[in-house]
Symmetry: C2
Subunit: 167 residues, 2 copies
């Protein structure tokens, strides 16, 4: 499989969606998300599969690295408007944000695009466990997020598929 075969046209996704919708059996389902997840955008992560999620049970917030700083708005909405009552933050091995620096990322963007996001921080990290701890601490320091519910942090090992909790 070469790079091109993995670079899909959006048209192919639209076609796949048509087949999906054609095959969809709508059943009347009650659903209510109980949980919010924060994890990386990484293309190898399918949380529905690796967590055995059921339809409608989890809000899934994803960004580069799975960083809390960019999940706070969504978590506030998830908890206060939609009633979720548990949070899991999941970072992963082999993450593209691991071992980079803000300056290095900014320079690379400037080199490729001729423009750079001066005000933006990229939230890379040097240590995977520490990044999970930092994100749990940021949650705990945010008073308008629920402090009376389970909030746990994990590292997902890409090689084995296994979660390990960070304490």
């Amino acid at each position: 499989m070469n790079r091109d075969s993995l670079n899909p046209s959006i048209n192919r996704l639209v076609e796949a969606n048509r087949r999906y919708a054609d095959g969809l059996r709508r059943v009347e389902t009650t659903w209510a998300p109980g949980l919010a997840l924060v994890l990386c955008m990484d293309a190898r992560l399918d949380p529905v599969q690796f967590l055995g999620l059921r339809y409608g049970e989890a809000h899934i917030i994803r960004n580069a690295g799975g960083r809390m700083a960019e999940a706070i708005r969504s978590l506030a909405v998830s908890q206060s408007l939609l009633g979720t009552a548990a949070v899991a933050v999941i970072h992963h091995t082999e993450c593209g944000m691991l071992g980079r620096s803000d300056n290095e990322i900014r320079d690379e963007i400037r080199r490729q695009r001729g423009a750079a996001p001066e005000g933006l921080t990229f939230l890379p990290f040097g240590d995977l466990e520490q990044s999970v701890r930092d994100d749990l601490a940021l949650y705990r320091g945010t008073p308008f997020l629920r402090q009376d519910i389970p909030v746990r942090g994990f590292i997902m090992d890409i090689a084995t598929g296994l979660l390990r909790e960070v304490h």
Copy 2:
């Protein structure tokens, strides 16, 4: 199915993950994400299913509403560090961010938590097509994101599962 049965303990997910990892057959796969998706955290959306995504082909960025303003950092990383060359923004019907206002959301959080995020905007929207157009325009106005690749916007109909493109 009542609300409690849908409110999983994180422990159940960890148990499901253990079974997943036990059953995982690691095969040597080449993978390279070609595409980045921006969509809502909504618990009813499983983009792997409704877009027929293959392993490793798409970065998936998710937040409340699927808003571009909170996807820019991740898209910059996705494009400049990891080489993706297409973007799809997907909002959806029955979205929790539809028809709300910043003040209403802030007041509700304050009422429930006794604290409110004063500096935070919640990015709600009054019109679904307009929110997609606004997000495409924000992308187009961001010079350090790739302007030479397909960038398309869609609305996903929760009732039918079907995508509709916004032009």
